[in-house]
Symmetry: C2
Subunit: 343 residues, 2 copies
DNA sequence: ATTACAAATTAGCGCGCGTAAATTTTATTT
DNA sequence: AAATAAAATTTACGCGCGCTAATTTGTAAT
C-alpha cells in the first residue's frame, strides 16, 4: 500500500504497465487474462491500494455481482443463522451479498424486493413469508431476476426451492415419541405466518394415522412473531386447564416449545421422559437456545449448512445456465432427531 | 404505473414537463423545488414508475445516502435487536442503511469497514469489538468518514459514543441483590470479547466496596461467542464443586446466565428468591429470551430504542455540522432493573 | 405596473468504467 | 522457421446522472 492515491483505473493501468481495458477484464475475471499480465497487475495492487469504483462499474453492466438475501425476520435466530451461512457462501463465491430483513412484515418484504431492483442484483435468495407474501410482487420479481426460494416454498415461483422435508422430520419425531412412550398431541398457532406450519400439521396428522393413533391438535390464538410469549401464555393456559389429552406435546416449532417449557416450569410441572415426569415436550428446528432450556429440548435439527449451501448453488447454476430454460427444482433435506431431556 | 418504460431522467423530465436538472434537484431533496413543480413531478411519478439509477447517482457525488451499520455478531439477539432499530431509524430519515455483521470475527469487522469504503457512505454506525478490533483500521476509517460508536466504546474514536451506563446499571443490580438478600459474587469470562465486560467487572467491585462487601469474582475459561455453552459448562463446574462462596451470582451478561441456569437445572438446584431456593442468579442485558428461562431471569434492561435513536441522531447531527468541528460526545443511558423470579 | 428575488431552464462538461471493433503483440503448433 | 491462434492493446463511444454558470421565467411585494 504505497502513498500516491490512485484516482481511477486509467492511472492504475499506467502504473501497472497494462492497458485499461485489460485491467478492466482482470477485475471482472482474473482468470481471463494471461498469467504474466495477472502477475503484473497483482504486483501493482500490492504497492498501491486501488479498487475500482463500484458505482461506475455497475452502471453500464446489465447485471452486477450483487446477490440479494431476504429473510422474514433477522430477530429470529433461525433466520439469522441461515442468513449468515447464505451470506458467507456468497462471499466465498466472489459475490456481494446484501442481507435484508423484512422485520416480520410482508409489506417490508415487498419493499425489500423493490429496493433490490435498483441494485440490479445478479440473483436473489428469498425466504418468503409464503401466503402472507405479496405473491404478485414476488412473481413479478421472479420474472425479472433469477430467484431461489429457501425455507418456505411458494408454488411455481423461483428457479428452485430448498428446505427441510417436513413430512420426514415430523414423522421421525412422531415415530420416536410413540416408540418411547405415549403418542403426542400437536400444539401450534391458529394462524401461522409460515407455510411450514401447515406442512407440519398435515405431516403430524398423516403420521399419527399411519401409526394408528388419533391426531389431536391444539391451536393457540395470537398474532405476530412473539412465539415464545404465545407458547407461554396460551400453552400455559391449556396446561393449567389440563386441556391436553395426552402428556406428550409436540410443538410446531422450538420457539413455541420454549414458551411452553417456561409455562410448565411456572406450573411446577416436571418436563422430561423420566418416570417421575409429568409431561413430555418436543419442538422442531433445533433453535440455538434449545440446548439450554430447562430441561434441554428434544427437537428436530434442520440442516442449516446444507440448505444454505444448496440454495446458493442452485442460484449460481441458474446464473450459469443463463438462457437455457432450466426446470424448476425442489430440494428438501432430512431433519435429524436431536434427543435431549424434554421428551 | 403506466406501460411505457422510462429509460432515464431525461425522458422522465420531458414527460413530466420539467427540466432534467430540476428533476435531479427534486430527487435529491423534494423540498428544494417549488410546490407546483413538485406536484407535477409527483403526478408523473404516479403514472410512470421511474426511479433514478442509483449507480449513476452515486458516481459523481462525494457522499451518498448510504449509512453503514456494523455489528459484531447478528446471531446474538442483542445485536440483531439493536441493529434492527438502527436500521429502521435510518430508513425513517430517508437514508439507505447497509447492515453488516462481523460474525464474531474482528478480521471481518475490518473487512466490513473496507467494503463500506467502496460505497462512499454518508456515515457509519459501528458497534465495535473494542480492544479486539483492528484499532488502527477503525481510526483510519474514522478519519475518512463520519463515525458514531454504539454499545462498546473506544477512546477518542468516532464523533460520538452511545451506550449503557454500566456503572449505574451494575450498581443498581448489586444494590437490589444486597437489599433483598445476600451480596452477590460475580461470574464472567476470563477473556471477554466485549469491553463492557471490563466495565461491569469494575462496576461490580466498586459497588460491592461501597456497600461494605468483599467482591468475589469467578472467571470462566473459554473463547468465542458461545456464551451459553461456556456459562453452562464452566458455571456448572463451579456450581457442582460448590466453589461459589455465596448463593447469589451476578453474571456479566444474560447469555452466561442462561447457560448457568441450565446447569443449575441439571444439578437439581432450585433457582429463585423464595426461601426454598438454593441459589439466586441474575444477568445483564434483558436478552429477548430471559423472560422465558426457568425461572425467568432477573436482569438489567438496556434501553435499545433510546440507544439506537440517539446513535442515529448523533450521526445525523455530525453530518449536518459538516465542517464545523464538533466535540466528541459520550452518551450513556441508565439500565432498568427487571425483577423476575431468578433473583 | 414596477421592482426584487427566488426558482426554473438551457447548455454543457465530467465522472469512472463497460464494451466493441480493429489492430498489434505474444504464445503455441506444425 | 513459418503459420496459426490467443491474448493484449488502441481507439473510441456511451452510460445516467451530478453539477455549474448564465439566462429566463415566475412570484410576491412595493
Amino acid at each position: 500500500m504505497g502513498q500516491p492515491k490512485i484516482r481511477n483505473m486509467e492511472e492504475f493501468a499506467n502504473i501497472s504497465g497494462i492497458s485499461r481495458p485489460t485491467v478492466s477484464k482482470y477485475f471482472n475475471n482474473p482468470e481471463s487474462v494471461r498469467t504474466s499480465t495477472r502477475a503484473k497487475i497483482e504486483a501493482a495492487l500490492k504497492r498501491y491500494d486501488y479498487q475500482p469504483n463500484v458505482f461506475a462499474m455497475n452502471q453500464n453492466r446489465r447485471t452486477t455481482k450483487n446477490i440479494g438475501v431476504v429473510v422474514p425476520n433477522l430477530a429470529d435466530p433461525f433466520f439469522s443463522e441461515i442468513g449468515r451461512r447464505v451470506e458467507l457462501a456468497c462471499i466465498d463465491a466472489g459475490y456481494s451479498p446484501i442481507l435484508l430483513s423484512s422485520h416480520g412484515s410482508p409489506e417490508m418484504e415487498r419493499d425489500n424486493l423493490t429496493s433490490l431492483r435498483a441494485l440490479k442484483p445478479a440473483g436473489v435468495l428469498l425466504a418468503p413469508f409464503g401466503r402472507m407474501s405479496d405473491v404478485e410482487a414476488v412473481q413479478t420479481f421472479d420474472a425479472d431476476f433469477p430467484l431461489v426460494l429457501f425455507d418456505a416454498n411458494m408454488s411455481s415461483i423461483g428457479q428452485a426451492f430448498v428446505g427441510t422435508d417436513n413430512a420426514q422430520s415430523v414423522d421421525l419425531m412422531v415415530e420416536y415419541l410413540c416408540r418411547s412412550g405415549e403418542a403426542p398431541c400437536f400444539f401450534e398457532m391458529k394462524s401461522p405466518t409460515n407455510p411450514n406450519a401447515n406442512k407440519r400439521r398435515q405431516a403430524y396428522i398423516d403420521s399419527m394415522e399411519r401409526h394408528g393413533h388419533v391426531p389431536r391438535i391444539y391451536q393457540a390464538d395470537g398474532e405476530g412473531w412473539n412465539f415464545e410469549e404465545i407458547g407461554k401464555v396460551e400453552g400455559g393456559r391449556l396446561l393449567a386447564a389440563k386441556s391436553f389429552e395426552t402428556k406428550t406435546i409436540l410443538c410446531s416449532n422450538d420457539r413455541l416449545a420454549i414458551g411452553m417449557l417456561s409455562a410448565a416450569y411456572d406450573l411446577g410441572l416436571r418436563v422430561g421422559h423420566g418416570p417421575e415426569c409429568d409431561l413430555r415436550i418436543a419442538g422442531h428446528d433445533d433453535h440455538p437456545f434449545s440446548k439450554f432450556t430447562c430441561p434441554p429440548l428434544t427437537t428436530i435439527a434442520q440442516d442449516y449448512e446444507a440448505i444454505a449451501n444448496r440454495a446458493v448453488r442452485e442460484l449460481f447454476s441458474t446464473l450459469e445456465a443463463e438462457n437455457q430454460t432450466k426446470d424448476r427444482s425442489e430440494t428438501t433435506f432430512d431433519g435429524r432427531l436431536v434427543m435431549r431431556e424434554s421428551a
